[in-house]
Amino acid sequence: MRHISVTCEQREAMLRAVGCESVEELFADIPRDARFDRELAIEGGLAEMELVAHVRGLAGANTPAGGMVSFAGAGCYDHYVPAIVDHVLRKPEFFTAYTPYQPEVSQGTLQAMYEYQSMMALLTGMDVSNASLYDGATALVEAAMMAVRITRRRQVVCAGTVHPEWQSTLLTYAAAGNFDVAFVPSRGGAVAFDSEDVTSVLREGATAALLVSSPNVLGNVEDVQRAASLAHETGALLVVAANPLLLAVMASPGDQGADIVVGEGQPLGNAMSFGGPGFGFFACREEYLRHVPGRLVGRTVDMDGNPAFVLTLSTREQHIRREKATSNICSNQALCALAAAVYLSAVGRDGLAATARACIAKAHYLREALLATGRFRAPWDSAFAHEFGLIYDGDVTAMRDALFAQGFLAGVPLSMLGPLDRTGIDPGVADSIVLFAVTEKRSRAEIDEFAARVAAL
């Protein structure tokens, strides 16, 4: 992006226009102790060649996950991104435009979003998908708020096995006072839907939504079908947060009774990028179409009868409905969603399923290998997909540091994810649990080598 700096003459002209003698006078209303009154600690300018060397040096100090043998996940996964994804993303027509303010002249962007929506609807088993949201956490909260609007109730029940950071986001929104949140703890790595844990908080006529993630933050599969019937018995909607890549082989939440399906889209063709940006996906049943937050692309025909794409149902949105909009914080992540659309097109239905199956099979192989080292034991016996937790018999930090030095990212300690008090996991073991995620990138040789290094610790 070009930066055109202001000249002294322009600065004087602007000051005259607002009736100030000096910049100091312009800022007079800002308290002195809130102002930065020193020189920036930046040295003098560098020549381009020096600057490139300097920045390369800084970049070289990083250890990107992609350069390691990574078993780290916990929400952000090291999948292979085919070259075609970047190739399409870097087309200036896609790359430089923020959002189509005059949408109908951006047919290419609209078509790409329409295809993204169509593929996400298929994956989730829902009727409609929006054009993406900010991230997985805010997509979950938007779903909760949508359920509050639809049911005109104000209690949201959230599984304690939803990612703790997503729980925090939910509580941040709840602090505004439009809904209350009750959490359900887990037993044995997943929510026990038939226990009093759930039945005691789900209230007929009061609960707007039950929020469940499957796989949950521990990698375990939740009983979504049971969750759906419990929610529906009380007139609440079921919101399922899913991993879109795993949906290629897992039962679709739509078939299991979900009303809204959300999640973090990063696993689909988006690089880990030090944790973001990714994108949130949001799909639901058609009857809730007019309550959907964010942008929707629709297909229609123009005056000559040719297929054409439009931003549709925009009366839901803030440029028309202002404070009554279905969402007022619904940045879409068009470029990241486009990456997902290109990724899905590139790998195809069978390729996506093969990738998901490889992740799941390799994760099960790693778990057996780690248990066989005798250094880990299982905290629970839940069905899982491509991520699982094990209790380490020793100092977790020392173990990870030692393996890091050998080129391995040895999972993510559960305690790193934030407060675990709502998960229901025994605090005595929570600090010893490490989450391991395995993607299609890991080979059997790497997994065997990793297990051998663990055994040798």
Binding site: R290, T315, R316, I320, R321, K324
Partner: protein
């Protein structure tokens, strides 16, 4: 344009007394301002309303407005035909375009609403 047998409110709803129940809709002026109506979101039967409560939303090709109840009472009937034919509100705002029927808690509230003459005076003021 503004039948004499109806009462009106400043939010451009009309009310027609039918026994101890009132039918509620929006005025000719309101439907004309909105333009082509594409969607009407209405509440469920059995819900209670107080005067001034939002009971639904009406969406046209260019905007969305909330629908306000002019009276207190319980919703006894909802015009389901508007779901499939929202344009009825434009075509017949005082007839087939009615939205909900409410059993009045306090029939005296009708006296606080505007007559057709008063409503037309309001419209010319606003213009």
């Amino acid at each position: 344009m503004y039948p004499d047998d109806l009462r009106y409110d400043k939010a451009h709803e009309w009310v027609r007394l039918e026994g101890d129940v009132v039918a509620i809709g929006i005025s000719h002026f309101a439907q004309n301002q909105l333009g082509e109506v594409v969607y009407v979101d209405l509440p469920s039967e059995g819900e209670s309303l107080s005067a001034g409560d939002v009971f639904g939303e009406i969406e046209s090709v260019k905007s969305v407005s909330e629908l306000y109840s002019p009276v207190d009472g319980e919703i006894v009937e909802v015009n389901d035909t508007l779901a499939d034919a929202p344009e009825t509100v434009n075509e017949d705002p005082y007839g087939k375009g009615w939205m909900i029927k409410v059993r009045l808690s306090d029939p005296a509230q009708l006296d606080d609403l505007l007559s057709a003459v008063e409503y037309e005076a309001l419209l010319s003021e606003e213009a």
